[in-house]
């Protein structure tokens, strides 16, 4: 997919860069209108976000939201996006101005990034954000000194309260129109003689190899330093072979000489910052201890845990139960629309396609929206206040024992409601390995769509009269399913983490930002953008697959041999048997027979691909009792219980039930999950990997259960 930022030279481009938690996104949203364009950088999972702003003289300009970063050094392709969007590398447009958003409270750390950007000679405006929080911390910032020492325009803002934005717009307008000559930013520090020589050695190669604009010797040196810092023997960065070679050779030589690159390049910049700091910052005793006071409660062993459990319980409850009425509303609305259209249109293929295929498919996409909206509303509010980082801080010890990051907790928890929002929520995990590992394990957690299937199978094969202690067998089985599926997800994390995702564990380095009120616009934008991203990409795939599945389950229709006047349920059942899905189910029988499944269950498994709970309705149709899909329906249960194998044994023995439950616990039967995985990993490879590893595991597990059970004399 093309990046959202088309290289349109008529419209000026402004990049907005900054540290994570510097309020960069809030500032971006405050400067732009209500619409941001979301795209994907080709081949990687980082989203590009652009929006337009109107300036008095420069006119309409495009703002590019550069991913939040502490440094431009790129250790992964994902991190490379920041420098690419600043320099106009890899086909991205080169910005005409850069806003570097500085965190007023952590100014020194922000100045490090500012220095890096300035070294490339880009026209920079420094935006010192959250000056209100700095005042509260007793920090006085001297803007005139900042302007003088850095030689660039500096504007103080409180983006959340929309303070300082007028001056920022004016300054940006000045810089873009050339009304105010801005001295070209340059290096503020002098590398030591050895490093200097190393960087100059890149110059000829950079002149020849680099296609994007590095106009000045200083900018080329900055790129040489970036290469030297970023290119390591194991890095996957896409860099021209010759530059890569020089960088690696220099690195080796440097290390052999016992030199210390981090000291020469990183500590040296901070030495300059430390030298300037007394002129820029005066620290007085803090006026507000708000964050300390809140943290004393929220990270307290007792109260902190209580709040954590309450908030997570609230998220769970919202996704699991409180979204239900909204989902029902959507289902009823879509059902009503389908019914109305069915009455209006003439009977025939087109009507069936529209009503049973397309509209049902749209309903199947929309039904996920309530959970997605709620989850991202929670996440963006928690992130905006600063609590999400605390939650990760509290739970990291436990999650780490499972081989994950504290940030993986909320996505995993959401998985008990539905894998779709859960996989989308992995965006809050900041390292790629943990994020992908979480995505791969989430489908194993028992989502609510499996519940009707479990209920039906349990009711069928474990009569509720049977009790162990005071609990019925069915209740115990259901409890066991939830425990076992959680354990399976953890097992998958453990196994995949040691095999497929082997390699360097990224350490947890999590900033705990000061508590603040979230910016309402930013919260709403996140919710809106996530929903839209789901609808436009994953939703399209889901819709197409629903229609395909509908064709499989409906066509070809049986010929004239069908008895006229037969009741609808019998007709439906006959149609289903005759359809492609019915034939596939039949063809599948020899394959699934060792699991204890017959062709009827085979059809059910195909139908379940639309959504797992569809299994119940498909069974209703197969057994000729209608497809209302109520797991508590006695007619369906009785019809299923009467079913016999050719040899006269009952089909639905407890062993078949257990085998089917195990299959449903593991198998990747949900195409919506696959569609979202494709969108979030930006890779069909990982999507196919998820599908195949779960299918193979499900088959093997059911096989062991059924054949093992038979060998032990059950059924």
């Amino acid at each position: 997919m093309a990046p959202a930022t088309e290289p349109d030279r008529r419209q000026l481009i402004v990049a907005v860069a900054g540290n994570p938690n510097s309020g960069k996104t809030t500032l971006f949203n405050a400067l732009t209108g209500a619409h941001a364009k979301i795209g994907n950088y080709p081949g990687i999972t980082v989203e590009s976000r652009t929006a337009e702003a109107e300036l008095p003289r420069a006119g309409r300009v495009t703002l590019v939201d550069v991913p939040g970063t502490y440094s431009l050094t790129a250790r992964s392709p994902d991190e490379e996006v920041a420098i690419n969007s600043l320099l106009g590398r890899k086909g991205l447009p080169r910005p005409d101005a850069v806003l570097v958003v500085l965190d007023a409270v952590a100014l020194e750390r922000s100045l490090f990034l500012l220095m890096q950007v300035m070294e490339f000679g880009l026209p920079v405006i420094a935006v010192v954000n959250m000056i209100d929080a700095a005042r509260g911390e007793g920090i006085d910032l001297h803007f005139d000194a900042l302007r003088k020492e850095f030689g660039i325009p500096v504007v103080g803002t409180v983006a959340r309260r929309r303070q300082g934005l007028e001056l920022l717009r004016e300054t940006l307008d000045d810089v873009l129109t050339g009304a105010r000559p801005v001295p070209s930013p340059d290096w503020l520090w002098e590398p030591c003689a050895e490093l200097s020589a190393d960087l100059d050695a890149f110059d000829a190669a950079i002149r020849e190899e680099v296609r994007f604009s590095l106009p000045t010797p200083s900018a080329r040196r900055a790129f040489a330093l970036w290469l030297l810092m970023s290119v390591t023997p194991h890095s996957e960065l896409e860099v021209r072979p010759r530059l890569r070679e020089i960088a690696l050779a220099t690195r080796t030589r440097l290390e052999a000489a016992g030199r210390d690159l981090a000291r020469e390049a990183v500590a040296a910049r901070y030495a300059k910052i430390d030298l300037l700091a007394p002129r820029l910052i005066t620290r007085n005793p803090p006026r507000s201890h708000q964050t300390e006071r809140i943290d004393a409660v929220l990270t307290h062993p007792l109260w902190g845990t209580a709040v954590f459990v309450t908030i997570m319980g609230l998220i769970f409850q919202t996704l699991f139960s409180w979204s239900e009425p909204f989902m029902g509303l959507i289902e009823n609305g879509v059902g009503g629309l389908a019914g109305a259209l069915r009455g209006l249109l003439p009977a025939g293929f087109l009507r069936d396609l529209l009503v049973d295929g397309v509209i049902a498919g749209v309903g199947g996409v929309l039904v996920f929206l309530p959970q997605i909206l709620f989850l991202f509303l929670f996440i963006s509010i928690l992130e905006g206040t600063g609590y999400l980082a605390r939650a990760a801080f509290l739970i990291d010890r436990l999650m780490r024992r499972l081989g994950l990051h504290g940030q993986a907790f909320v996505p995993m928890l959401s998985g008990y409601a539905c894998a779709i929002p859960a996989i989308m929520a992995t965006r809050t995990i900041d390292n790629r390995r943990d994020r992908f590992l979480t995505i791969m394990a989430v489908p194993l957690i028992s989502c609510s769509a499996r519940l009707p299937v479990y209920t039906l199978v349990i009711a069928l094969t474990f009569p509720s009269a049977q009790k162990i202690g005071f609990l019925s067998t069915g209740t115990l089985v259901l409890l066991g399913i939830y425990v076992l599926s959680s354990l399976l997800a953890l097992l998958a994390v453990g196994l995949l983490g040691r095999t497929v995702f082997k390699g360097r564990l990224r350490p947890l380095l999590l900033e705990l930002p000061a508590y603040r009120m979230p910016d309402p616009k930013t919260v709403l934008m996140v919710v809106w953008e996530r929903s839209r991203a789901f609808l436009t990409t994953a939703g399209t795939v889901i819709l197409v697959m629903t229609v395909l599945l509908w064709v499989l389950l409906t066509y070809p229709k049986p010929g004239a041999e069908l008895p006229v006047g037969a009741d609808t349920a019998a007709v439906q059942s006959e149609q289903l048997r005759h359809s492609y899905a019915g034939r596939i189910g039949g063809a599948l029988e020899p394959v699934i027979e060792p699991l204890g499944f017959d062709w009827k269950i085979g059809i059910g498994l195909i139908g379940a691909f639309a959504a797992r709970e569809v299994f119940v309705g498909t069974m209703g149709v197969v057994y000729g009792v209608g497809g209302e899909g109520d797991p508590a329906d006695d007619t369906l249960r009785e019809a299923m219980l009467r079913d016999r194998r050719p040899d006269g044994r009952s089909v639905w023995t407890p062993l078949t039930g257990v085998s089917l439950i195990v299959f449903f616990m593991i198998a990747m039967q949900c195409m919506s999950t696959l569609a979202v995985t494709r969108r979030e990993t930006a890779s069909w490879g990982w999507t196919l990997f998820m599908l195949s590893y779960l299918t193979v595991a499900a088959y093997l597990a059911s096989l062991i259960v059924y054949q093992g059970g038979r060998a032990l004399g059950f059924a």
């Binding site: 440094s71 750390r109 509290l394 010890r397």
Partner: protein, 74 residues
Amino acid sequence: MTLDRVQAGSAAELLDIDPCNGLRTRLMEMGLTPGTQLSVVRHAPLGDPIEIKVRGYRLSIRKQEAALIRCRPL
């Protein structure tokens, strides 16, 4: 001593970071350069990770990584 052993509520001066798996550069880029003063604010209720305050901001870091940071109690 190393940062994981610094008592909660105590301050320390950073001496150096063990050059291990690229973390050293990353931490230095976040302002944890030799000579910087930092304080350990608290340990998470389960004992790990720890919260430190450095250059005006709060950072959570696991003890395993904190053990790579050599410092001098102040």
